[in-house]
C-alpha cells in the first residue's frame, strides 16, 4: 500500500511537471520582430549617446551602433520604447541583456546571426569604454555579468 501511494505520488508529480511544461511551451515567445526591436531601441539610443562622446571612440562606436540599428530595422525589427538613461556603458550593458534574451528565443537563423553581431559589438564596446576609463576591460569572463 505504501508502495502504491509512493508510485502514484511520483506519477502525479511527473504528470504535473509534464503538464506545467506543456503550459509553458504553449506560451509562444514574442515574435522575432519584437525580440529584435528591443535590441534596436538600444542601438538607436547608443548611436545618439556616442554623439556626445568626443574623439575616435565616439565616432567609431557611434557609427557601429548606427550600422547595427540600420541592419536591425532592415530585418524587420519593431523598435521598442527607448531605454532609460544615456550613459554609454550602461546602455551597452542593457543592450547585451536585451540581446541575450533575444538570442535564446529567436527562431530565424539570420535574425540570430544579427543578434550575435550586436552581442559581440556591445561586449567589445563595453570593454573599450572600461579601458578608456582606466578600468579592467576583462572584468568578468561572462560579459552579461553572471558569476559562472
Amino acid at each position: 500500500m505504501v508502495g502504491t501511494t509512493t508510485r502514484r505520488g511520483l506519477l502525479a508529480a511527473g504528470g504535473a511537471v509534464l503538464l506545467a511544461g506543456c503550459g509553458a511551451d504553449a506560451e509562444p515567445p514574442p515574435p522575432d520582430a519584437e525580440l529584435l526591436g528591443a535590441v534596436l531601441a538600444y542601438e538607436r539610443a547608443l548611436a545618439s549617446a556616442y554623439e556626445r562622446v568626443p574623439g575616435r571612440v565616439g565616432r567609431e562606436l557611434g557609427a557601429r551602433a548606427d550600422a547595427l540599428a540600420t541592419r536591425l530595422a532592415a530585418a524587420g525589427a519593431r523598435p521598442a520604447a527607448p531605454p532609460d538613461g544615456d550613459e554609454p556603458l550602461g546602455l551597452e550593458r542593457g543592450c547585451m541583456a536585451a540581446t541575450l534574451t533575444a538570442i535564446g528565443l529567436l527562431r530565424d537563423a539570420s535574425a540570430r546571426d544579427l543578434a550575435a553581431d550586436a552581442m559581440t559589438a556591445s561586449a567589445q564596446h563595453a570593454a573599450i569604454l572600461l579601458d578608456r576609463a582606466g578600468r579592467d576591460p576583462l572584468e568578468t569572463p561572462f560579459p552579461d555579468g553572471r558569476a559562472t
Binding site: 557601429r64 550575435a116 559581440t120
Partner: protein, 164 residues
Amino acid sequence: MTSFHPHKGPDPFWQRGEVLRFAGALAGAALVGRPAPALAGQPAADRTADALVALVAREYAAAAGYRAAGGELFHRLAANCEAHVTALRSQLESVGREPPRPGPAAEVGDGTALERDFVAAYRAALGDLYDPATKRTAATIMAGHAQHLVALAANPIDALGETS
C-alpha cells in the same frame, strides 16, 4: 517484469521501473531548473551535446595553450577559458553527456586568430543549441572572447570589426 500500464500489455516503455524513473526524472529536472533528461535521447539534445563537447574541448586547449605561452594577459585569458569550461560542463551535464577530458594545448600565437576562431565557433554553435539558457550561455561566452580581442589589441579600438 509486470506491465504497469493496465491497458497496454508488456510495452517496455510502460514497465513499472521505467514509469517511475521517467516521472522522477521529470520532477527532478523541474526542481533543478534543467531540461528534462527524457530529451537527452532526442536529436536536438544530441546536437546540443555534440556542440558543447566541441566547445569544451576548444576551451580546454586554449587554456592550456595560454598557460604554456605565459605572461600576465595570457594567464587572464586562460582563467577565463577555464571559467567557460565550468559553465559549459554544467550545460553538458544537463543533457546527460560526459564532458571531454582536456586535450593537447592549442598553438595560441598572439591570441588574435585563436580568439577570432572562438567567436566564429560560438556563433555557429548557436544554431545547434536547443535550450534557450544554453544558447545564452554560449552567447555570453562568445562575447567574452570578443572582449579578449579588445584586450589583445595594442589599441583596443583596432579590434573592432574582427568578429563579424
